[in-house]
Every structure is written in structure tokens, then in C-alpha cells.
């Protein structure tokens, strides 16, 4: 018996090595009972102190959601999700009291959790040059750098707060890019979303710091349904970073987020994600189901939206950050590295919809699959009949590490205008033996050689990230590939 225990202990240590964010914080929580019905939605809305129109909108979304089936077209294989077996609201107790008006202290456990993740949430310890909104399960627990932002007239807060403080802005833009009728998961999110970030950059302002949200799932059996809304007014610029982690558990947890970006005339939004949800163990037990709808709308002339993502976690990833290029001369970019190992499955890519004249888009997708994982790029480029002089360039490369993994590329390209130029290229191959040999002949061991080659493979994407994030992403990749090479 004692031997058994010892075994489990060493095993846990090994797993810990692989996923260092897998701890659980013991926090007193305020939570909704399991299940989804109108009462739960009312409960969430009440907890958030939302205006009446918001509740109505949630209800409409819920009614629509009830009529829909889960989409199953992606190359993903997972068991039926029981939507009644999920808790739709869970918040650290001290926080939810804060929302009743009293200014509560931050639960020390929550604070410790974020410290462990390397995200200081107190103003005095804040990160240089990065304003952080920290979201713990269903609520935003802290937002840093407030005064600097206020100075420039930038609004950066949790979406619940925005709904109370800036209802006009939220009402104007929420759901205008991803309506609640968009898809199954987006409508589920619209009905039950709990928190997320809201940012508004006024006309002509270049946001002086990076905005960032850190999402943490902690509670058991809860789903995280966050909603992020970023509006860049005319001629403004903002760079936004998003990070995600969750504890290691044997059960699957659902994460269904919606992100909406709106760029008006000459505005630019850079959105970067490092997604490192818990991906389950080597046998594919546990892990986060990540069903995310992200979409940017270049609403004005010469607007630019750029997505950069490093998808390194989650058992299931279903995510297609897209750009609707409506304003003439607007630009959409998508840079992605998706790495899957063990039994992870990722079906990710982008959509570029060219509506305006002279719109441009670039897609760079790098997929790495190892072990028994499945990695799919799925994308769409569409040139509308009236969109003149549009240009798209896509490149999708997949690297295979190990003989049991699979890599798929499924791009959809549609052009209806004779002035369009669309180019797509994709390759799938094993890690280049000649490159490995060359590096090894310089006296570098195999594992480092592989890391070097993989890093070179992803370079085009990593160079889009802010430096600290690029370093983090490189480390993450090394960690994921450790032991996958045989």
C-alpha cells in the first residue's frame, strides 16, 4: 500500500515537470449549482449586477442555443459533452462580495495563485509596461496600471465592470462582431459568459502599455466562459496579450470563450495568445476542451488586425481567429504555432473575409504534431465579388514528430473577383534530417538540435510576439517536445 502511494507520488512529480501550472488553489468559492437553465442565467446576471437589456440578450442567446446541435465537422474526436453537468458560475467568495459594493481584499490564496503563475496583480508589484486583468474562474480579480491608462482616456477593465460603468459602449459593440446566433459555442457563451476584459482606446491614442488578460481556471467541474471586447477607435493602436492555464484534473473542463475586436479607421489591434490550458496526461485523460470563437472586424478604412497565437495546451482545441476586412485598404494577419503532443487534438486556423477594396491578408500557420496527437489547420479565404484588388498569401507548414501522429491541412479558398490574387502553399514533412545532422556535427546534442530546428520553423510567428512572450513561447515548445523524440 505504501509502495503504491510512493509510486503515485513520483508519477505526480513527473507530470509536474511537464505542466508546472497544474496546481489547485484552495479558495472559498461562491458558486452556482450545476446545470444550465433560465434560472442559472438570471443568477449569473444578478451576480454581475447587470442591466436589464443584458439579461434579455442572454435569454435570447439561450433560446437560440437550445435549438442548435453541437458542430461536429471538425477533425476532432471527443465524447459527448453533458452541458447539464457543468457549473456555470464559480467565484472566489471575497471577490463576489466586492461586487456587491464593499471593497473587499483580494483573497490571499488567489493572489498566491497568480504569483505562482508569475502574474503580479497588486499595483506595487505590477509588471513594467504590461497592464494585467486577471480572471479567476468566473470573475476578474484585479486590473493593474489603472492610472496610466486613465490618463490617456483608455478604458481597460473587466467586462462586468464595463457593463456597469460604460453601458453605452458595451451595448453598442457587444455582439456586433460575433452575434449570439453565430454558432453553437458562441451562443452558449452569450448566454452564460461570466467575465473577461473590455478595452476601449479613444481616437488617436497609442496605448502606452501592453494590455493583458490572464485566465485561470481553478474550480472543479466549472466551465470558463469569458468574453473579451476590444474597440480601437479611429487612428488608435493597442497591443493585447492573453495567457491561460488550468489545474491538472482527470475530468474534462469546458472553456468556450468569445473575443470580439473592432478596429475603426486607421486603427490597429495586435492580439496575441499563449494558450497553455492543461492538456490531459499522456493517455489523454483530463484536460480542457477549448471551443473558442475569436473574430476581428476591420470596420474602418486602413484598419489592421493581427492575430498571433501559440496553441500549446488543451485536450481539444477548436479555434479560428478571423478577420472581416470590410474597410477599404484594411489588413488582416494571422500567425499561428499549434503544437500537439500525447493525445491532444487541435483543429485551428483562420478566416479572412475580403469585403472592402484593396484589402490584404497574410496567413502563416505552423503545426507541430508529436506522439499520438492530431493537428489540423482549417482556414478560409473569401474574396467577395465587389472587392477589387485584394491580396492573400497563406503558408501552412506541418512538422511531424513520431510515426503515430497525424497532421491535416484543409484550406478553403473562394474568389469571385477577377482582380484578386490568392496564393496558398502547404507542406507536411518530418523534421529535416540534414539540418539535424548539420547541427549535431557541430557537437550539439540531439534534443537541443531538435529544439533549434523547431524554433527556426516557428520563427516567423514568434517574431510577432512581444519579447517576453516570445521567450516564454520558446520555453513552452521545448517543454512540450521533451521526450517526444524517439
Amino acid at each position: 500500500m505504501e509502495d503504491d502511494m510512493a509510486d503515485i507520488d513520483t508519477e505526480n512529480k513527473l507530470v509536474d515537470n511537464e505542466y508546472k501550472y497544474g496546481f489547485v488553489s484552495d479558495v472559498e468559492v461562491d458558486e452556482a449549482p450545476k446545470g444550465l437553465n433560465e434560472d442559472i442565467i438570471r443568477f449569473i446576471s444578478e451576480k454581475k449586477g447587470e442591466p436589464e437589456w443584458m439579461l434579455e440578450w442572454r435569454m435570447k442567446a439561450y433560446q437560440w442555443w437550445l435549438t442548435k446541435d453541437e458542430p461536429r465537422w471538425a477533425l476532432l474526436d471527443y465524447p459527448e459533452i453533458d452541458y447539464q453537468d457543468i457549473r456555470y458560475y464559480s467565484a472566489p467568495k471575497q471577490m463576489s462580495e466586492r461586487f456587491k459594493g464593499e471593497d473587499g481584499e483580494l483573497d490571499p490564496e488567489v493572489k498566491r495563485a497568480f504569483e505562482k503563475l508569475g502574474i503580479p496583480v497588486e499595483e506595487q508589484e505590477r509588471l513594467q509596461g504590461v497592464a494585467v486583468d486577471a480572471v479567476f474562474d468566473s470573475v476578474s480579480v484585479a486590473t493593474t496600471h489603472r492610472e496610466v491608462l486613465e490618463e490617456h482616456g483608455i478604458i481597460f477593465c473587466s467586462i462586468s465592470e464595463a457593463m456597469r460603468e460604460h453601458p453605452d459602449l458595451v451595448r453598442k459593440y457587444l455582439g456586433s462582431v460575433v452575434p449570439y446566433t453565430d454558432n453553437f459555442f458562441a451562443s452558449l457563451n452569450s448566454a452564460v459568459f461570466t467575465d473577461g476584459s473590455f478595452a476601449y482606446i479613444p481616437p488617436g491614442v497609442r496605448c502606452p502599455v501592453e494590455l493583458s488578460t490572464y485566465f485561470r481556471i481553478n474550480a472543479m467541474d466549472t466551465g470558463q466562459f469569458e468574453r473579451t471586447l476590444i474597440v480601437a477607435d479611429k487612428g488608435s493602436y493597442v497591443s493585447y496579450l492573453e495567457g491561460c492555464t488550468a489545474p491538472m484534473r482527470d475530468t474534462n473542463q469546458l472553456h468556450a470563450a468569445v473575443v470580439e475586436l473592432i478596429a475603426l479607421d486607421d486603427a490597429q489591434i495586435k492580439y496575441a495568445t499563449i494558450q497553455n490550458w492543461y492538456a490531459g496526461n499522456a493517455e489523454g485523460v483530463g484536460g480542457i476542451y477549448n471551443f473558442v470563437t475569436k473574430r476581428g472586424h476591420c470596420r474602418g478604412r486602413n484598419a489592421k488586425i493581427s492575430w498571433t497565437q501559440v496553441e500549446a495546451g488543451a485536450a481539444i482545441t477548436w479555434k479560428y481567429p478571423s478577420c472581416i476586412l470590410q474597410g477599404d485598404g484594411s489588413t488582416g494577419e494571422f500567425y499561428s504555432v499549434a503544437i500537439t503532443n500525447n493525445r491532444m487534438q487541435a483543429d485551428t486556423g483562420t478566416k479572412m473575409i475580403h469585403i472592402g477594396n484593396n484589402t490584404k491578408s497574410t496567413i502563416v500557420s505552423k503545426g507541430i504534431s508529436a506522439d499520438q496527437s492530431k493537428n489540423t489547420y482549417r482556414g478560409m479565404v473569401q474574396i467577395m465579388p465587389t472587392a477589387e484588388n485584394c491580396r492573400n498569401y497563406s503558408i501552412c507548414d506541418s512538422m511531424l514528430v513520431g510515426s503515430e501522429c497525424s497532421a491535416n491541412t484543409v484550406p478553403y479558398i473562394e474568389a469571385e473577383n477577377s482582380s484578386a490574387i490568392v496564393e496558398h502553399e502547404a507542406t507536411t514533412s518530418r523534421i529535416n534530417e540534414d539540418q539535424l545532422f548539420y547541427i549535431r556535427s557541430r557537437g550539439i546534442d540531439e534534443e537541443s538540435a531538435i529544439n533549434l530546428v523547431v524554433n527556426g520553423f516557428c520563427k516567423e510567428v514568434f517574431k510577432q510576439l512581444p519579447m517576453e512572450f516570445a521567450v516564454e513561447a520558446t520555453k513552452l515548445l521545448e517543454m512540450k517536445l521533451e521526450g517526444s523524440i524517439g
Partner: protein
């Protein structure tokens, strides 16, 4: 992709146009039991599969309603008739098979059939006179394992069946011309063609289809090709159905060790087409070279899907499909390279180039890679654009009229594939088609 889910109302309809139980009972009376069993199995699958709707992924870009199935009769088996007077270009072939409204004829021009160099005979006859030879190929091994509604329909209702066999080691000098010319008598044409090349044999086959533009015709075809080790086949399909015709075709080839298929498909005809063409390179050293040309103008709609399936290690495939759309034409190209588990040392390439020549015309391209093995190289490239204005300008600055400049560029675009066609007169036809559509 997030806007896809529109909760399709599943069609409960399983009958396509005239192809019902009654029509089935009238099919293939007195056939040998081998074929009868295949028909019955086909019908069983057919009646249990729902008719496709535009909600099915496969049919999303080509609405099945574009096919006026109900305007046609299932049509009885085509009778065999005596060969007519020789047609144009017949001298290029050993055997000419003419298929028309009244029946089909097999013309053994050079005596290759009599001399035992090749067998070209109706399926029914083959399954009696050489049952042992044909039986292994009657289970549809080359076809994808998930049943297609129209493959099943063809199996149940085919009204013209042909078996072509080249014995091991034989090099057929001139090859075979399989020529369909219909004039629209209201009967659907449902051909099933089975081609087998024995070990180390070599042959070339031309398949051509034509009908007057004002005749409404429907063709639902299946073709299976089996190449035994080290066999080599050049297959050219010259599809020139008239604008009133619509066709559905499922063509698959299985290419065994060290065998090679060169398969060129020319699609300039029909009002509406839905084609699936695939190769399974299933033996070490097998090679498939697939080329295609297409052009959709006016209201033409051509939907092509290609499969390059690698189920064995050390296999090679290359694909190049080029086409243009003009006016309200709509082309759909979907290509899949699939490497099955264990298919290492595979080299597969797929290119699809499209020209959109006028606003309102539409080109969809969906190249795809489905890779389940690691030590390989698979890639694809797809482009959509127009003729390069710099190149047009260059030629005009040399004194060429714009229309001639465009014609030359178009010819250059198409010749990359057309040059591989072994028949000079078919190459000329390609040029004529392109010139006519550019208004030269």
C-alpha cells in the same frame, strides 16, 4: 467556419429521380448471378442512403437540385449493335467503342481483340466467359470504403457495362477509344466501366463524350481501373458534353507496385458536373500523375474532387489541375492527399491554379492534406488570380493586340497540361475551346 451550423433538415428522400424500385426490377434481367448479386447489393445500399442535399459537406458547393433528375427515364440496357462507318481519328486506335442512344458497338479495327492482345467486352458477357478473371474486381475495391449515393446508384442501375483487360506483358500499340455520343432521348446514361491491366502490360485509352448543346442528357458514371504490378496506363478523358448535359462521375484507380498511371482529364463541357477522381497508389514504387484542365463560362458549373491516396510506403503522386472561370461560371476544385498510417517515404504534390477572368465568375479551391504517417513529404499549392497585366503589357508593347496577347497567355497557361496529351488533335481541341471562349 463558425457560421456553418444551420441545423440541416435531413432529407428522408432516398429515391433520385426515376431510379426507384420499379426501375430497378426492370434492370439487368437474365444477368449472370455474379452481376445480379452486385446489382442487388448496390440497390440495397442505394435505397438506404439519403439523397444528398446541399447540407452535406460534399454537396455544399454544388446543389444537387442543379441536376434535373426527374426529367429523365432510367433507361433499359443499351443493346450491342454492329459497328458503323469509321469515324474521325479512328485510325489512331486498335479498338473503338461507340456508345450512342441506340446502343453500343465494339470495332476491333486492327484485330487486337481477335489476336488476344486485349479483351474489350460487355460486363455481362465477361462475367460468363471469364468469370474467374473478372470476379476479383467486382467488389469495388478501388472505391472509397464509405459509400457514395451515386456509386450505389450506378451499381444498381447501370445500363452500359464494359470490361477492358490487357493481359500480362502485352503492350497495346494504339490503344482504345471509348466514345460516348448522345443526342438526348430522355434516357439517363449509366455506364460502368472496369479496366484491368495485367502485370507489365502497357496501354493508352481515350475516353470522349459529346452531345449537341441543346440536348438534355444525364450521365451517372463509375469507372474502376486496376493496374497490376509494373503496368502502365495513359488515360485521357476528353469531356465535351453539350451545355444541356449534366454528369456525375466517380472514377477510381488502384495502382500496384511499380505501376504507373498518367491520367489527364479535360473538362470543357456540360452545364453541371460533379466529378470525383482518385488514385490509390497501393504498392511500393507505384506512381500516379494526374493532370486536369477545365474552363467554366456562361453558367457552367464544374465541381471536381481528386483523391491521392497513399496506402503503401515508397509511393509517388503528382497532380496539376488548371482552369479558368468567366461570365457566371463557377468551378469548385477539392483535392485531398491522404497518407495512410505506415505510408512512409511518400512524395506527393498537388497544384491547383485558377484564373478568374471576369467579376461574377467564381473559383473555389480546397486543397487538403490528411497525413497519418511521419517520414514523408506532402505539399500542395493553390492560386487564384487573373492573367498577369505586366505580361499582357509586355506583349502589347511588342505590337500584339490585347486579345492576341491574352490568347497567347491563356495558351501558355493551358499548355503546361495540354502538352502531355498524346493525341495532337485533342490538343488542338483544347486550343479551340480556349480561343472560342476568349472570343478570338
Amino acid at each position: 467556419m463558425s457560421t456553418i451550423d444551420l441545423a440541416p433538415e435531413r432529407a428522408v428522400d432516398t429515391v433520385v429521380g426515376p431510379f426507384d424500385e420499379e426501375a430497378f426490377n426492370a434492370c439487368g434481367k437474365g444477368e449472370p448471378s455474379l452481376l445480379r448479386a452486385k446489382r442487388e447489393q448496390g440497390f440495397h445500399v442505394y435505397k438506404n442512403l439519403p439523397a444528398p442535399t446541399s447540407f452535406d459537406e460534399e454537396w455544399r458547393r454544388t446543389n444537387p437540385r442543379l441536376f434535373p433528375f426527374a426529367d429523365f427515364r432510367a433507361g433499359g440496357a443499351l443493346p450491342r449493335i454492329e459497328p458503323d462507318d469509321p469515324g474521325e481519328h479512328d485510325e489512331d486506335f486498335d479498338v473503338v467503342v461507340n456508345v450512342g442512344n441506340d446502343g453500343y458497338s465494339i470495332n476491333d479495327r486492327t484485330g487486337a481483340i481477335r489476336g488476344g492482345q486485349v479483351m474489350v467486352l460487355p460486363l455481362a458477357e465477361a462475367s460468363e466467359s471469364c468469370a474467374d478473371l473478372i470476379e476479383p474486381y467486382l467488389n469495388g475495391q478501388a472505391l472509397p470504403s464509405d459509400w457514395d449515393k451515386f456509386v450505389a446508384l450506378n451499381d444498381a442501375f447501370w445500363n452500359f457495362g464494359l470490361f477492358i483487360y490487357v493481359p500480362p506483358g502485352v503492350e497495346l500499340e494504339k490503344g482504345i477509344h471509348l466514345k460516348y455520343s448522345m443526342s438526348g432521348d430522355g434516357n439517363a446514361l449509366v455506364p460502368q466501366v472496369l479496366i484491368v491491366l495485367g502485370e507489365q502490360s502497357q496501354a493508352s485509352i481515350l475516353e470522349s463524350m459529346s452531345s449537341p448543346d441543346d440536348a438534355s442528357c444525364l450521365s451517372i458514371a463509375t469507372k474502376e481501373i486496376y493496374l497490376q504490378p509494373a503496368a502502365r496506363l495513359t488515360f485521357v478523358t476528353n469531356q465535351e458534353w453539350g451545355r444541356g448535359a449534366c454528369q456525375i462521375a466517380n472514377d477510381m484507380a488502384m495502382v500496384d507496385s511499380d505501376a504507373q498511371i498518367d491520367w489527364i482529364t479535360l473538362n470543357f463541357g456540360t452545364g453541371v458536373s460533379k466529378l470525383k477522381l482518385g488514385c490509390d497508389v497501393c504498392g511500393s514504387g507505384a506512381c500516379a500523375e494526374l493532370d486536369g484542365l477545365f474552363f467554366c463560362n456562361e453558367k457552367q458549373h464544374i465541381d471536381q474532387k481528386t483523391l491521392q491516396i497513399h496506402s503503401a510506403p515508397h509511393t509517388y503522386s503528382r497532380l496539376l489541375y488548371k482552369g479558368a472561370v468567366q461570365d457566371e461560371g463557377h468551378s469548385v476544385y477539392q483535392g485531398v492527399i491522404q497518407a495512410r498510417p505506415g505510408a512512409v517515404k511518400v512524395d506527393a504534390y498537388q497544384t491547383n491554379n485558377n484564373l478568374v477572368l471576369s467579376n461574377g465568375a467564381k473559383a473555389d479551391t480546397i486543397p487538403g492534406l490528411l497525413i497519418d504517417a511521419d517520414d514523408l513529404k506532402c505539399s500542395h499549392g493553390a492560386t487564384i488570380g487573373n492573367l498577369d497585366p505586366d505580361q499582357v503589357f509586355y506583349m502589347r508593347s511588342r505590337g500584339l493586340a490585347e486579345v492576341d496577347a491574352r490568347r497567347l497567355l491563356m495558351r501558355g497557361f493551358y499548355d503546361e497540361v495540354a502538352d502531355r496529351i498524346p493525341y495532337a488533335w485533342v490538343r488542338d481541341q483544347v486550343h479551340r475551346h480556349v480561343d472560342a471562349r476568349l472570343g478570338v
